[in-house]
């Protein structure tokens, strides 16, 4: 018993040292990582809503964040909205940026973070042939939220073969994010 306790304590010393050193490294790299993610996010929002040149952040009372996209910095012409969708995939939380026009039709989506199974779930960002956009994301262009279900659930999005969980996570999270935005904007009447 005493021996087991001793082993446990020794192991604890090693893990504490490891934990402290990782905390130290994390402190150094955290701001840089956030900056990189921010850059990727800005690039993505321009890509999903190309008509907009200025974006303004909003947060609803419920804590839901979205952006309004304006054609020009000086005008009040809303050309669309950008929302983040978070879906629980097979091995990661998949973050998708969704660009919408003012009728809540999807302009484009972009998956900005995923760590799904290589060769299966990662196909959600696979580029096929000459198209610059991944084929799975391209299916969402021009769709209304009520069409957003994978084919197995009776919708119009072809699921990635072998990665239904990933496909469902992206599709459902995008639909839910749009519905959330719609509910907020129509209720508030601030369109």
């Amino acid at each position: 018993m005493k021996y087991i306790l001793k082993l446990g304590l020794i192991l604890m010393v090693y893990t504490v040292v490891a934990g402290l050193s990782l905390g130290f490294i994390n402190n150094i790299t955290r701001s840089k990582i956030l900056e990189q993610e921010g850059n990727a996010g800005e690039k993505a929002q321009r890509e999903v809503l190309p008509e907009a040149s200025a974006f303004v952040d909003f947060t609803t009372n419920g804590g839901f964040e979205y952006k309004k996209g304006y054609a020009d910095k000086d005008t009040a012409d809303i050309v669309g909205y950008v929302v983040n969708a978070y879906g629980n995939g097979y091995s990661s939380t998949i973050r998708t940026i969704v660009g919408l026009d003012t009728t809540f039709t999807i302009e484009a989506i972009e998956i900005v973070y995923q760590e799904e199974t290589p060769g299966l779930g990662t196909k959600c960002v696979e580029i096929r042939g000459d198209s610059p956009e991944p084929w799975f994301e391209a299916q969402f262009d021009g769709k209304k939220p009520d069409e957003l279900l994978v084919d197995k659930d009776g919708g119009t999005i072809d699921a990635i073969s072998g990665a239904t969980i990933t496909s469902r996570a992206v599709t459902n999270s995008v639909r839910e994010a749009i519905e959330e935005l719609k509910k907020h904007l129509t209720k508030g009447g601030s369109q």
Partner: protein, 197 residues
């Protein structure tokens, strides 16, 4: 063995991939382009050198019964350092290598060298062993990555090599291409080792 031998044995005679057949999973999975091979090779070499160094330093302070959990803790710490640094400073590479960086923790080359070498040898020898094994691993990743990228995509480090008329053999960047290249490379290295003897 002479000190220099600890380094050079990893390159050919005891090459981790070709001879010890360790770490085949990342070798097959990340070598569809050359730049992925380089990135993975550098990351694995860094972890290997650091973990060999630390483990040879603490080898007398670790009770035999819990050596594996301690080694894994050391390795996982260095892998997490690599993951954080890569995400912060090389986001493109970090995205391309994705899950394979955290998986370095269970790369059998690293634990294999910790258990089989660093826990029995002094610091200098362990350092050289880690460096040699890491460079040997990276060399193979680069060779396979280059072959697969040239044949499978017609590019090298992303630059097109051939004219428009070149039809790449897509099979080479898919999993079978990895198996083919690795098999041919192991065959060639066996041939070379026989000649040398």
């Amino acid at each position: 063995m002479k000190l220099g031998g600890e380094f050079t044995k990893g390159l050919l005679k005891e090459n981790p991939v070709l001879v010890l057949a360790l770490g085949l999973c990342p070798t097959l999975a990340v070598t569809n382009t050359m730049v992925n091979g380089i990135g993975m090779g550098i990351a694995a070499t860094f972890v290997l050198v650091c973990s060999n160094l630390v483990i040879s330093l603490i080898k007398n302070l670790v009770p035999n019964r819990i050596r594996i959990p301690v080694f894994i803790t050391v390795i996982a710490t260095f892998v997490t350092v690599v993951k954080l640094v890569m995400a912060g400073y090389f986001p493109g590479l970090s995205k391309a290598l994705g899950i394979f960086i955290p998986l370095i923790v269970v790369n059998c080359i690293i634990l294999g060298r910790a258990e089989g070498f660093a826990s029995k040898n002094n610091v200098l020898r362990s350092l050289l062993d880690g460096l040699g094994m890491g460079v040997g691993f990276m060399l193979i990743l680069i060779i396979i990555g280059a072959v697969r990228e040239i044949l499978g995509a017609g590019t090298i480090l992303g630059h097109p090599l051939f004219g428009e008329s070149f039809k790449p053999a897509l099979l080479m960047i898919l999993p079978p291409g990895g198996f083919f290249s690795i098999a041919i490379l192991i065959g060639l290295s066996n041939l070379l080792q026989k000649r040398l003897e």
